[in-house]
Symmetry: C2
Subunit: 134 residues, 2 copies
């Protein structure tokens, strides 16, 4: 597996196992900023084990991802999945159905800045995920 | 010098030399997020060479620092300087005069989330800085 060192977290703590209802595989969440001021957003550090990803979902205000380690995927409905690497920044528009997660053979870590609510949907199709080439 | 690898940037690009009018020593700034939506804040990646720091300043809305590498200082006027390490998060209140930067012998990197304007003030006293023990 690639980027195995990310299993132990590099910058921010690994945190707790993310809610299994909304993820496939092992994903971990550590909130790093939840104060009400001065930002309009909470910030979480999300770590995905190889093969782990979240279910399809959308955000009512949007979300920004700052990729801090490893290799993963971001896919909006109806578009090809986009390979993400450390240093990539994704601006997810409001109401756009999407998912993100690790590649099959790499750990993956991003900060998630989420200024509103998340609407969780169905799991990513296993066959479609397995065909992605990182 | 400690954390010399941070000279080449680890996650986000090193960027350009920060405005010499507001910094002592070599500091670098790379903006990583400047879209107007969905956040109320721009995000910059700031890298300080050992001994580099910004001048005293304040923010009219406040600022959040996410420390991503190395060792540095954060000091509010009238308070002791606080040693910062990777993973530390600082919420800087509005109108509070402060400075941040590297320790004498370590590179230092943080993300700066700044939802308003910055008011730049005088340089940090050289003798006071030189007495800080990291």
């Amino acid at each position: 597996m690639k980027n195995e060192h990310l299993r132990n977290s590099t910058v921010f703590p690994l945190g707790q196992k993310a809610d299994a209802a909304n993820f496939i595989g092992d994903a971990y969440l550590q909130m790093v900023f939840t104060d009400p001021e001065p930002l309009n957003t909470a910030i979480g550090n999300v770590t995905f084990a190889p093969g782990a990803r979240n279910n399809w979902h959308s955000h009512n205000v949007g979300q920004v991802l700052l990729v801090t380690g490893g290799e993963g995927w971001y896919q909006e409905e109806g578009k090809p999945a986009q390979l993400l690497k450390s240093g990539d920044v994704i601006n997810i528009p409001p109401q756009v159905k999407h998912w993100h997660g690790a590649t099959k053979d790499s750990w993956f870590v991003h900060l998630a800045l989420t200024p509103g609510e998340t609407v969780w949907l169905e799991a990513v199709d296993e066959e479609a995920y397995s065909k992605l080439q990182g």
